[in-house]
């Protein structure tokens, strides 16, 4: 007995833990830390990506360029707007669907699959589909002008900045509902049934049970989803690239599409792109930390 107790108290610094830990850390460190550090370094240089080219150290010049660039600022604003709208909405819809599906008995699998379909379709293809639907001569305008006859001329959904971003938001929400549904279903499963039974006995109805039992129990998952989706929203690339390509005249750029453009189309601005990436990362980290601080509480029961 005594020897086992001793084992228990020393397990926290057990060498075996390091065996669990090290392979994973090495892997992540090699494949992700190194590139990130390299990016950081690149952002302080006028980094030349050519063959056997030398780069000059420019200090904070790239950062100044980014922050004073009108298009970069616009891209940041577009990205923030996109995130602020799509993240909460897809979580709400996803949670709603998860709750609904959690409570039904038949066809559960079919419903789950159907809602999950947008998630497992490539971004490129669904963005193309949406582009077709919202085209000046697309499905939606067709319905509005020829079928329902509520407008005379087709509406340029994708022609102006905020309207196009609105379409991108719809796309983002539509595609994300199934993802959230999957995450929340897993979380809902883990809420012990006894909680609900006890609550029913106490006279709480379904709505109250949802707010007082369900939501608090999946608080951790909600936070994770929030953080993950926010990060994902800031890293949006494909939907904008396909829907508008950042056009007209870079009005609808988001930070990632603009960074990509500067890297591959501008040919000389790798330092700029690196600085932009670092700035984006800093912003996301700030947002994430804020979320953690305000929403997370001690989990020890």
């Amino acid at each position: 007995m005594i020897s086992i107790v001793k084992k228990k108290s020393t397990r926290k610094t057990d060498w075996r833990v390091y065996i669990l830990l090290i392979p994973g850390l090495l892997f992540v460190a090699t494949f992700t830390f190194y590139p990130i550090v390299k990016m950081l370094v690149m952002s302080f240089f006028n980094w030349r990506i050519g063959y056997q080219q030398v780069s000059d150290f420019v200090g904070l010049a790239n950062y100044k360029d980014v922050l004073s660039d009108q298009i970069a600022r616009r891209a940041l604003m577009n990205t923030v707007a996109y995130a602020v709208v799509t993240v909460p909405l897809q979580m709400i819809f996803g949670l709603f669907v998860a709750v609904l599906i959690n409570g039904i008995k038949k066809f559960s699998i079919s419903f789950r699959l159907a809602y999950y379909l947008p998630v497992i379709t490539s971004w490129v293809v669904v963005a193309l589909l949406f582009r077709y639907i919202f085209n000046n001569q697309g499905l939606l305008n067709y319905f509005l002008t020829d079928v329902l006859k509520v407008v005379n001329e087709p509406i340029g959904w994708l022609s102006t900045r905020w309207s196009a971003i609105f379409v991108a938001m719809l796309l983002g929400i539509w595609k994300g509902i199934g993802w959230n549904m999957v995450i929340f279903l897993a979380a809902l499963q883990s809420v012990p049934k006894e909680y609900y039974e006890a609550a029913s006995l106490d006279g709480l109805n379904n709505r109250q049970q949802f707010f007082y039992i369900t939501l608090p129990s999946i608080r951790g998952t909600i936070l994770f989803a929030l953080v993950m989706l926010s990060i994902g929203a800031f890293n949006t690339y494909t939907p904008i690239a396909v829907l508008t390509g950042g056009n007209p005249a870079h009005q609808t750029e988001v930070v990632l599409t603009w960074m990509y453009f500067q890297t591959f189309n501008a040919m000389g601005k790798m330092g700029y792109s690196a600085a932009l990436s670092i700035i984006i990362a800093a912003v996301i980290m700030l947002v994430t930390v804020l979320m953690f601080i305000t929403l997370s509480r001690k989990k020890e029961d």
């Binding site: 990506i49 919202f134 340029g156 056009n247 005249a249 890297t263 040919m267």
Partner: protein, 422 residues
């Protein structure tokens, strides 16, 4: 649950093993054995038009004649072709031969990856059999960084049915073209389409009216891109856009793409290249084509096409083999074969070959246009400059900014670029 652990361990071992194996394996660029040199050829020949098939046939013929060379073709989509050179430049992970858009030449040159082909001993000989104008797209500061592979230019395509239906004669001058665009537009038709707003698109109009983009020595933009002629031309385009006689997906992401628009009868006029012919045939459009109607300075269209390029990162043996391959591909036989699948030849002999002429019915029209077509400035940071121009012109056409203001801004930014690269 023991099996999870076993699977996990196996997976890790597998991963480590394969890492070791791949590190020990040979260099990612093909190692040439003593007998044969392997060269990697990146291209974006159109598989749908049968060009890839012809390429493979030609490669086989080439390899049969040159038993010590193996050609490994890699298809990359247009954008990926450029991006992969960009990402591979620093490490020298580059092909040995590349056939890419002429616009790539200055871009790749700024990455310091292109081999100076004019330094090759028989370059002059090979180039003498090639049309001069297309080949000039590979020349920067009197050094050739490539050789023309195929060429094209833009001519005016028009939808016969639509023009006849609106009683419009085929335009003979640039002004008549604007009129035609205006008059053929109605609720379901938009007269003209321009997919982009770079010099590739608006250059012909500016040049045909006597203006230009940069000074003749490419040292200044001020006074040219924002000169009187350019402002007048862009203003005309802005006017057309406002009354929905002009549209395009880069000015308006909601607009129908040009190919889809031709097929659905949305567009009636477009200045476009030879691919438009086959696409219209596929779509069943009754079309006609003439060289760009002349402006006050003549009919000057823009030169397009692809060039062959070689890379500094290749070994000497690979460079030698690559040059042999390029000479073959720019020879009469290969050029005629490619002509049959839509690639307009640059080889002078091939151009007058009856088979080639039969394969490209519009060849006479294009040849006519090629005589006066002008290449876009081939200068170090041209791609950045064209991007600036495209943005500002789009802003001007869509009415976001006044034309003069937008073009002035473009001139300022371009001049700044020019002074930076000195």
């Amino acid at each position: 649950m023991k099996k999870y652990k076993i699977i996990g361990v196996m997976a890790l071992l597998l991963m480590l093993a394969s890492l070791v194996i791949t590190s020990c394996s040979s260099d990612n660029k093909e190692v040439s054995s003593d007998e044969s040199v392997v060269i990697e050829f990146w291209h974006n020949y159109d598989a749908g038009a049968g060009q890839v098939e012809v390429l493979e046939k030609l490669i086989k013929e080439f390899e049969a004649e040159n038993k010590d060379i193996q050609v490994k073709p890699v298809y990359l989509e247009w954008e990926a072709l450029k991006n992969n050179v960009v990402s591979g430049a620093a490490t020298g992970s580059l092909p040995d031969v590349l056939r890419g858009d002429i616009a790539f030449v200055p871009q790749f040159q700024s990455l310091n990856v292109l081999e100076e082909m004019s330094a090759l001993s028989d370059y002059k000989d090979a180039a003498s059999g090639i049309l001069e104008a297309p080949n000039s797209t590979a020349k920067i500061d009197n050094i050739f960084y490539g050789i023309a592979a195929n060429t094209n230019t833009k001519i005016l395509f028009y939808n016969k049915t639509k023009l006849q239906g609106a009683n419009i004669k085929v335009p003979k001058t640039l002004d008549e073209l604007w009129e035609a665009a205006l008059n053929v537009s109605d609720s379901k038709t938009i007269g003209m389409v321009e997919p982009w707003t770079g010099i590739w698109n608006v250059g012909p109009y500016i040049w045909s009216e006597g203006g230009d983009v940069l000074s003749p020595d490419n040292s200044t933009a001020e006074g040219y891109i924002n000169g009187t002629v350019a402002v007048k031309v862009i203003q005309k385009l802005a006017d057309l856009y406002e009354v929905k006689a002009l549209a395009g997906p880069s000015m308006d992401p909601g607009a129908v793409g040009d190919t889809d628009g031709w097929a659905s009868g949305t567009y009636a006029l477009q200045l476009d290249g030879p691919w438009r012919e086959n696409l219209n045939i596929d779509a069943g459009v009754d079309y006609g084509a003439i060289p760009l109607p002349a402006g006050s300075n003549g009919s000057i269209s823009v030169l397009g096409g692809e060039d062959f390029m070689m890379f500094k990162s290749s070994s000497d043996a690979q460079k030698k083999a690559s040059w042999e391959f390029i000479k073959f591909m720019t020879g009469k036989h290969a050029q005629v074969e490619m002509a049959k699948v839509g690639q307009m030849p640059v080889n002078k002999e091939a151009l007058s070959d009856p088979e080639a002429i039969k394969a490209i019915p519009l060849l006479p029209v294009f040849s006519e246009a090629l005589k006066s077509a002008k290449s876009r400035p081939v200068t170090a940071r041209w791609s950045e400059m064209e991007n600036i121009i495209a943005t500002k012109v789009a802003e001007a056409i869509t009415g976001v900014k006044e034309v003069k203001k937008a073009l002035d801004e473009a001139a300022v930014e371009i001049d700044k670029l020019i002074s930076e690269s000195k």
